[in-house]
Amino acid sequence: MEKTYKIQVDCPHCAEKIERAIEKQAGVESVSISFVSQKMFLEFKDAEKESELLSSIEKVGKKVDGDFRVL
């Protein structure tokens, strides 16, 4: 399952860090975050657990950048 999400991320450096943090999440196959386009390209295993995965992604993202949000 591959999907593109609009996100809010405040600094380019944090985008990199968040990307690395999300990579470690269970169920994530690959992720790429673009600060410039404010987008997250996510490839994940289980389509049914999408919302669960997104909330855990938001959680780890927020740890790096408090303003991180999946829109």
Binding site: T4, P12, H13, S32, S34, F35, Q38
Partner: protein
């Protein structure tokens, strides 16, 4: 109030406050320090809050935290040592200016893409049971009749069923000349009707239409990061910890040495130098400007109808040394058409009759195009002793006259005197010993093919190769016309891929591009370092297998893509070298005590702003010469 407006307001208010305070006649050091705390908090309260949150979340090398340490340090030093008050609000002020600029850059580049997004029409007018209803494009089934009036955008690809209109494909292909369409013409979504009324029968679903595909492609482009981008993220990963460790060493080691060897060392001065290091510990200039440059380049090219599927392909495009073309559909349009006829001593109808009689028996492509143009019934019993020779042409007897139809060699051999000499591709007709006319053909080579090859040469492409399934002879004609030295003829699609692989093996460091029409050469498009497909945006296979998709079939877009990619890489390199050089210089100067914290932040933010501005140059494709 929006977030960026809020930051701007804070920047303005704190700047005014800082200026006012610096002119106030405050003599007491402590009062002065307390006065500066007001603008400091206005400009930096969020940085301080984020810094605290960062520590709670275990993010020690968070940039907010580092900025907070540096500025709080400056304030504390102001109170216990000497006047560093001004630097505290200034550091955060410039930091916020940098943040603001980053926001501007992001919004600006998103705007560039969203102007493309505007291509996507929100609705379509569809005829249903004799009524015209407004529906969302996703809901239109194939074969529906869509009504497009003046000023409206086409939502879905299709064929004009009735009416005529003038369509602009500017937004899709970058082609500024509008085209007139009438019944039977196929039209692509994203075109704007500039005048007229057409009914279009849809041939695709919205999601398979050109517009939807183009948008999906661009959206995805940024997820395929270039090597340079990956290098920068790696660099960033090490840069901050290294600079922070250096800061710690500089702040502490001299004091420790002083304590151990009991020499007098100004520990506060070294602490200050260490704090200045923290100010430049963010690799922001690099981390933002490199992807931004790629993004600008991709955006700029898409405006001209060239879609690049990822930053990584920009990198490869810039290194192309060899371009391999599939002939048909790229260098030639695959169609040979009769351009003109000329006749003397016979009437037009007689002349055409002779032509059709003679050409009907031939399988030569030129003969076929003649028969296609003049579909008239003829009596084949009139023709005798028909003989066709490769390299010459046709000889036959019609009604007891000997006819010669072929090239100049045939005319010479038959002893026919030629009153004309044509430089274009032509076939001559002789009756007995007399010249009676000729046919010229529209060249099958695309108008811009030759200049495109020349432009590629100018962009550093040193080897140009043509592959074709056509026979040697036909291939040679095209190759000669284009000035191509290397070509391979009579190839099957898998043989094309084989030859391409061989070329790639010999290539060394340079990259090899393959240009095809994307319909039957998917294997080659995938094999090449850069697969470029032309005029086939409707085909899934073409989009899947190529790295660059040229929406129309303008071959000049190939050198344009290379040129633009090269410019992009130059800007990336400038930004990388410039940013690193300035950072290293400032680090050295502050370690030696020549640079204060103010200079450090000024240089840091300044470099970032310059790098961002430089990135935007990648958007511009100024037309010079042909491209």
């Amino acid at each position: 109030m929006k977030k960026h407006q809020k930051i701007l307001l804070r920047i303005i208010i704190s700047t005014i406050l800082i200026v006012v305070i610096s002119f106030l006649p405050i003599k007491n050091n402590t009062f002065l320090g307390l006065a500066y705390i007001l603008p400091y908090l206005i400009i930096g309260y969020d940085v301080l809050i984020k810094a605290v949150k960062g520590i709670v979340n275990g993010q020690i090398l968070d940039e907010n935290f580092l900025m907070a340490i540096a500025s709080v340090g400056a304030l504390v030093l102001g109170f216990i040592w000497k006047d560093h008050f001004l630097e505290a609000p200034l550091v955060l002020l410039f930091y916020q200016v940098g943040e603001y600029f980053q926001g501007v850059a992001v919004r600006k580049s998103q705007k560039n893409i969203s102007s493309l997004m505007e291509l996507s029409p929100d609705y379509a007018y569809v005829e249903k049971d004799g009524e015209i209803i407004k529906v969302s494009p996703e809901e239109v089934p194939i074969g529906s009749i869509m009504v497009v009036r003046t000023g409206e955008k086409l939502a879905i690809d299709g064929v004009v069923e009735s009416g005529s209109a003038c369509l602009s494909t500017l937004a899709m292909t970058g082609e500024s000349e509008p085209v007139d369409v009438k019944e039977g013409d196929s039209v692509i979504s994203g075109s704007v009707n500039q005048g007229g009324l057409i009914k279009v029968k849809t041939t695709k679903l919205y999601n398979d239409s050109t517009v939807a595909k183009v948008l999906a492609l661009i959206e995805r482009a940024l997820s395929r990061k270039a090597k340079t981008e990956k290098f920068i993220s790696k660099f960033a990963r090490f840069y901050t910890p290294i600079v922070c460790s250096l800061a710690l060493l500089i702040a502490l080691i001299p004091t420790l040495i002083g304590l151990i060897f009991s020499v007098s060392v100004n520990g506060l001065d070294w602490l200050y130098r260490g704090l200045s290091f923290l100010v430049i510990s963010c690799p922001c200039a690099l981390v933002i400007s490199v992807p931004l440059t790629f993004f600008s380049c991709i955006g700029g090219l898409s405006k001209r109808g060239v879609l690049v599927k990822g930053s990584s392909h920009i990198e490869n495009l810039a290194k192309i040394k060899t371009v391999v073309f599939d002939k048909t559909g790229t260098l030639t349009d695959g169609k040979i058409k009769v351009k003109d006829i000329y006749f003397e001593k016979v009437s037009e109808s007689e002349f055409i009759e002779y032509l059709v009689l003679l050409e009907s028996g031939s399988l030569h492509p030129l003969a076929k195009s003649v028969c296609e143009k003049y579909k008239i019934p003829v009596d084949f019993t009139r023709i005798k002793e028909y003989n066709e020779e490769g390299g010459y042409g046709i000889t036959a007897i019609i009604d007891n006259d000997t006819f010669y139809l072929g090239n100049l060699h045939l005319m010479q051999r038959a002893g026919i005197k030629m009153p004309v000499s044509l430089s274009e591709k032509a076939v001559y007709l002789g009756k007995n010993k007399q010249f009676i006319g000729y046919i010229t053909f529209l060249d099958s080579v695309k108008e811009n093919a030759k200049s495109s090859l020349e432009e590629l040469g100018k962009q550093g492409v040193s080897r140009l190769v043509m592959l074709t399934g056509d026979n040697e002879n036909k291939a040679k004609i095209v190759a000669e016309e284009l000035g191509l030295r290397e070509f391979y003829a009579s190839l099957l699609p898998d043989q094309k891929q084989e030859i391409l692989s061989k070329i790639m093996l010999n290539e060394g460091n340079g990259k090899v591009a393959f240009v095809g029409d994307g319909i039957n050469d998917a294997p080659s498009l995938m094999t090449a370092d850069v697969g470029i497909s032309m005029g086939a945006v409707g085909s899934d296979v073409a989009i899947e297998s190529s790295s660059v998709v040229i929406i129309d079939d303008d071959i000049l877009k190939v050198p344009l893509a290379v040129k633009s990619a090269k410019k992009c890489m130059r800007i990336v390199m400038q930004n990388v070298i410039f940013s690193i050089a300035i950072k290293v210089a400032v680090l050295i100067l502050s370690a030696l005590g020549f640079a204060n914290m103010f200079l450090a932040i000024f240089a840091d933010v300044g470099v970032m702003i310059l790098a961002i501005l430089n990135s935007f140059r990648a958007l511009i494709n100024k037309k010079r010469g042909k491209i």
